[in-house]
């Protein structure tokens, strides 16, 4: 390996290392960069507030994110709606997050909503394998098809599950999963019952094809999650997470400009020729 090629290897390694450290550092030591709440995040927050003003509102939650910030945010949404008194029925398409959700029900829910009683104010179907057919059944008249909660308790013994029969019994739908477009087929456009999505930023263009008709609002993680945390007052990690992402994106812009300068000035042409 020539000395020039070695130099290129070191430079590449240095670029990626700075990228990683630039994202990790604000997680440990938050920078509190200025933040602007976008209309999308405000809309997401407002729909929840409006739903909470309905008497006895019930939300349907798809709790399927199983890694990182998205899982944390999913639980922040549960914390927020429970704190506002919105009852909820949850389901998960991911086996990997099942234990974490059960832990949330047993440990966190009593702190977030002390007056909430399992089976009366919230319930969880558990992990159910399957895709389109399961989603259709969850929002159809599904009393027979999904007969019990995650513990195997018959739904007739759980007052909340006994009263929700199909999608028309829910007042708000919050979808925390990657394949949100699958839900688009089964949740009809209902101005009185908004459907909302927590989205990975790389899925945002897909979401826009369903906005605002099928899905009423979307939260584009992680930046919009930081805005959501600011609106709700929940102290989460998204703000420092967004700071890291901001630094990394600025660094990427610097690298793109530097790369173009190198190309224009034909620096390193000899290396490519080797």
């Amino acid at each position: 390996m020539s000395s020039t090629r070695k130099l290129v290897t070191y430079v590449n390694f240095g670029i990626i290392l700075i990228n990683i450290l630039g994202q990790a550092f604000p997680m440990a030591f938050p920078l509190a960069l200025p933040m602007y709440v976008t209309p999308f995040s405000q809309e997401f927050y407002d729909y929840i507030i409006v739903a909470s003003e309905k008497p006895d509102a019930v939300a349907f939650l798809d709790l399927s994110y199983s890694i990182g910030l998205h899982t944390t945010t999913m639980f922040e949404i549960v914390q927020f709606i429970s704190g506002l008194g919105i009852k909820w029925v949850g389901y998960s398409a991911s086996a990997a997050v099942e234990a974490t959700i059960v832990n949330m029900i047993n440990v966190d829910m009593p702190n977030w909503a002390p007056n909430f009683v399992y089976g009366v104010d919230y319930a969880y179907y558990g992990f159910i394998p399957g895709t389109t057919d399961i989603k259709m059944n969850l929002l159809a008249n599904n009393q027979d098809l999904i007969a019990a909660d995650y513990l195997g308790t018959p739904r007739g013994q759980l007052p909340l599950l006994a009263r929700v029969h199909d999608r028309f019994d829910f007042d708000i739908f919050i979808n925390c999963m990657d394949g949100f477009s699958e839900w688009a087929k089964w949740w009809p456009s209902r101005p009185d019952a908004p459907s909302m999505v927590l989205i990975r930023s790389d899925s945002w263009p897909d979401f826009l094809t369903y906005y605002p008709v099928t899905f009423s609002a979307g939260l584009n993680a992680p930046t919009a999650v930081a805005e959501f945390e600011a609106l709700t007052g929940i102290a989460g990690v998204a703000v420092s997470y967004s700071d890291g992402l901001t630094i990394v994106l600025y660094w990427t812009v610097v690298i793109i400009i530097a790369e173009n300068i190198v190309r224009v000035l034909k620096i390193g042409q000899k290396v490519e020729a080797e």
């Binding site: 990626i16 990790a24 394998p129 930023s201 369903y210 008709v213």
Partner: protein
Amino acid sequence: MLGALVGQNISTDPAIWLQTFIIIGMLTVIWKNNPIFRIASFTVVGLLAANSLCTALDTINDGAVSLIAGGDYVYVIVLIVAAMSIFRLSESYGWVARFPTAYILGLGLSLAAGPMARVLLEQVAAQSALVIGGSGIALFNGLVSLVACITTIVYFVFTSKIRRNPALAGMAKIGRYFFMIAVGGLCGVYVVGNFQYQGMALEYIVIDFLGFQAVG
């Protein structure tokens, strides 16, 4: 100072240590391919395969075996159809697996077709409303979307007669620019998406392993 902070809060959970080892092992590939990277990547692949197998067995048990044991013998059909899928591994009898695959695909498509048509029509109607009844920036956005949509479709029409028409050739050229902008945007979104995955990995190290309470 950093050492003291880390030392006080570092995790004592073996699972978190394993998780951190795997993440750091994976990251070592940015220097070069090495044994630590290979151990970490093989461990992840093995664990994922084991997890998928356990989930599949659980699903078969909950969705068929336990129901059959309870006297609901109609679920024997489910087991037979599931067993037919395994024939995909056989060179001679691979055709048997086509039946369950065709059934699943047909069922999924038939279920999806009706609602998807409704979703698409509603979305098209909403976009059209922006152009027809909109004003200001909404009207401008709607018009740009409409022009982009039509010109991009023209760009992908390869009929030679259309290509020879100067007006349509001009539209196709505009469509090509819109298409390039869209692809560039998607590439940018893909890069951001990968930074997000990097952030998730770092979150496990910085917050779960090192114990920083990164509350903004």
